[in-house]
């Protein structure tokens, strides 16, 4: 991997770590952006890690563009020598797959889909050679996912499945984007899943909804009082399939202010993960459930 740098006008430097997505490229983007943040470079105003790239916004009246570029190239090269270990969190997200709200929405926009005769779940199961909706839900929810980017809109996590590339779920985006997506929809496009933090336009396949808010600009939800967005790049997510009764109970708990998400601190080593992916994921799940 050789990072490619480009100026984005006179106020941004854009760095593509790799054209293709991989955990190695994501870790490098995370390490470089952490280093840039810690260096507190005068004139740098925004530091944004992405899946396999990153971006730094700066004020060219405070720092010369070429000086910042040279500094970033130095930090990018240094990041190759970092041990790929991070202290992070694992978060359980309950999901009602095949829910009535995304179903109603996907039927409304059927003519914009690759396969108007089946649902997003049926289509995605078929093109990934999985055994129907149940087989798909099992494949989607059995291994954890990395939050490899937060953005598009406020607090929306992009999630990258922590399995070998050949086992990763892939699905195209809708042929033409929808003008509506229910809030808290679990979506998927390319190799990334996401959680739509707000209601609005979207092009990802829709698989279900979570009862657990992840963005709250009013900061009234107990676990979003300190900060309105739940996710940070580097967080690990484990989906938990739930039924309608559990979904309704969780929604009532959120409204009553007694919903307590399961969030645990965890250390993640990319080298150990790569040595035994299923074994390592099993250990991560153990951390989530306190053993």
């Amino acid at each position: 991997m050789q990072t490619r740098f480009s100026f984005g006008g006179d106020e941004h430097i854009f760095a593509e770590v790799d054209e293709a997505m991989s955990l190695e490229a994501f870790f490098k983007s995370l390490f470089v952006t952490n280093a840039v943040r810690e260096a507190r470079i005068k004139g740098v105003t925004e530091i944004c890690p992405a899946n396999a790239s990153y971006q730094v916004k700066f004020d060219p009246d405070m720092i010369k563009p070429d000086d910042l570029l040279a500094e970033l190239k130095r930090m990018d090269a240094a990041a190759d020598k970092s041990e790929p270990v991070i202290a992070t969190r694992i978060i359980e997200i309950p999901v009602l797959y095949n829910d009535p709200w995304t179903h109603e929405t996907l039927m409304r926009f059927r003519e914009r889909h690759q396969d108007p005769t089946s649902t997003d779940l049926e289509y995605s199961a078929r093109i990934n050679d999985l055994d129907g909706i149940d087989g798909f839900i099992k494949a989607h929810s059995s291994a954890p996912w990395f939050v490899s980017m937060v953005g598009f809109v406020a607090g929306l996590p992009f999630l990258y499945q922590m399995v070998e590339r050949q086992r990763q779920i892939q699905a195209p985006k809708y042929l033409r984007p929808r003008t509506d997506t229910p809030k808290l929809t679990i979506g998927h496009g390319g190799c990334f899943s996401c959680i739509y933090s707000v209601r609005g336009a979207g092009g990802y396949q829709m698989y279900g909804v979570t009862p657990m808010p992840i963005y709250d600009p009013s900061q009234t939800i107990s676990y979003l009082r300190d900060f309105m967005c739940l996710f940070k790049p580097g967080d690990i997510v484990k989906w938990k399939p739930i039924d309608r009764a559990a979904y309704d109970a969780a929604v009532a708990d959120v409204e009553a202010g007694r919903f307590a998400p399961i969030i645990r601190d965890v250390s993640f080593s990319l080298a150990e993960f790569n040595r035994d992916i299923d074994g390592y994921n099993h250990k991560l799940e153990g951390v989530l459930h306190g053993h």
């Binding site: 480009s6 100026f7 984005g8 006008g9 006179d10 106020e11 941004h12 854009f14 593509e16 790799d18 054209e19 293709a20 997505m21 991989s22 952006t33 105003t45 925004e46 530091i47 944004c48 890690p49 992405a50 899946n51 396999a52 790239s53 990153y54 971006q55 916004k57 060219p60 009246d61 563009p65 980017m149 937060v150 953005g151 598009f152 809109v153 406020a154 607090g155 929306l156 992009f158 590339r165 195209p172 985006k173 496009g189 390319g190 190799c191 990334f192 933090s197 707000v198 609005g200 963005y215 600009p217 309105m228 967005c229 996710f231 940070k232 790049p233």
Partner: protein, 326 residues
């Protein structure tokens, strides 16, 4: 003192100079699309340059004042009327308690900035009063104004004379046709062929109806031809797809190679479309004043020219400041 919203206009929002520092979690800068006009409106009424104002697009609101205030309207030529009496744009005028401010039809430009002495005093969220409607954040209840809203107004800290104006040459508005927007090619420029790159700068584009605070879409130029490739893992199969990445403010994405979209103050912070380059910071204000169907040419510049344009823009700001601070 407060302002009652009798009619909201098309999409009137509270804006200041924006909310930097949260783009990495998808919360964009927001703030006035034409920052120069926003600053001018504030200075005319004696406010600090970054006080919160109303940004009205295409059509003005109708407002009633519960107390005395000084008002100025800048940016688009959207002529204000006080109890039906025409007032000048780019000039300050006093409003008495109970008077109504309304607007005539839009004559030129797209966005007007309505400053009130004391500033619009909505709560500061993450360091700014700007509205980010997509995230229901900031401004007045996180949304555009509606009839019946009552906007709190702050207490003025300085008093200035009524009737001061901003000279034509200090207004920083788009001049000439087509409007020229300067672009630094880059980002994923290498994805298109040399001929497509030449065509992009030769063609005259027009502002499409899909033009808002998130981004401005353009149409009318030739579709861009791509350099063939094997799609990288994670990018998607369309030649215009990339592995989802950050989007710079002013970046020009071209989904499917057909219609360029320039991201503005309420930008989506990232996504999966390639970008051919970025509008230089000095020309971002101009975009906020473009109406649909306005012809536009993209003009290729390098970093050196982008920085000299930046210095010229800073000189214009300094002249505006010294003209109105006296």
């Amino acid at each position: 003192m407060a302002i009652k919203v009798l009619k909201p206009g098309l999409a009137t929002t509270v804006q200041d100079l924006g909310r930097p520092g949260y783009y990495h979690i998808g919360i964009p800068l927001s703030g006035g699309m034409d920052r120069h006009a926003l600053v001018a409106a504030n200075l005319l009424v004696g406010n600090p340059e970054g006080a919160a104002v109303l940004e009205a697009v295409f059509m003005g609101p109708e407002l009633e004042f519960t107390g005395d205030a000084m008002v100025a309207v800048t940016g688009a030529e959207l002529p204000p009327k006080l109890d039906g009496q025409p007032q000048q744009t780019w000039s300050s005028f006093n409003v008495k308690a109970g008077q109504k401010l309304s607007f005539d039809f839009l004559k030129k430009g797209a966005r007007a900035y309505i400053a009130v002495s004391g500033g619009i005093d909505v709560p500061v969220v993450l360091g700014s009063r700007s509205t980010y409607a997509l995230g229901a954040l900031g401004g007045f209840k996180g949304r555009k104004l509606e009839a019946g809203d009552e906007l709190p107004v702050g207490t003025p800290t300085t008093t200035v004379e009524e009737g001061r104006t901003v000279a034509d040459d200090l207004r920083g508005l788009p001049a000439g046709t087509p409007t020229e927007l300067r672009v630094m090619p880059g980002l994923y420029w290498h994805r298109i062929t040399e001929a497509a790159g030449i065509g992009f700068f030769e063609d005259t584009w027009k502002v499409a109806p899909e033009a808002d605070r998130i981004g401005y879409r353009f149409r009318g130029g030739k579709p861009l031809e791509f350099v063939p490739r094997e799609p990288p893992f994670g990018a998607g199969s369309d030649p215009s797809n990339i592995t989802d990445a950050c989007y710079p403010y002013g970046s020009i994405q071209v989904p499917g190679g057909t219609e360029p979209i320039v991201l503005h103050r309420d930008a989506v912070s990232g996504g999966g479309y390639f970008m051919v380059g970025t509008i230089i910071a000095a020309d971002m204000d101009l975009i906020g004043q473009l109406q649909p169907n306005t012809p536009v040419k993209f003009v290729k510049v390098d970093m050196e020219r982008a920085l000299s344009a930046r210095r010229e823009k800073a000189e214009l700001s300094a002249k505006l400041q010294s003209a109105l601070m006296a």
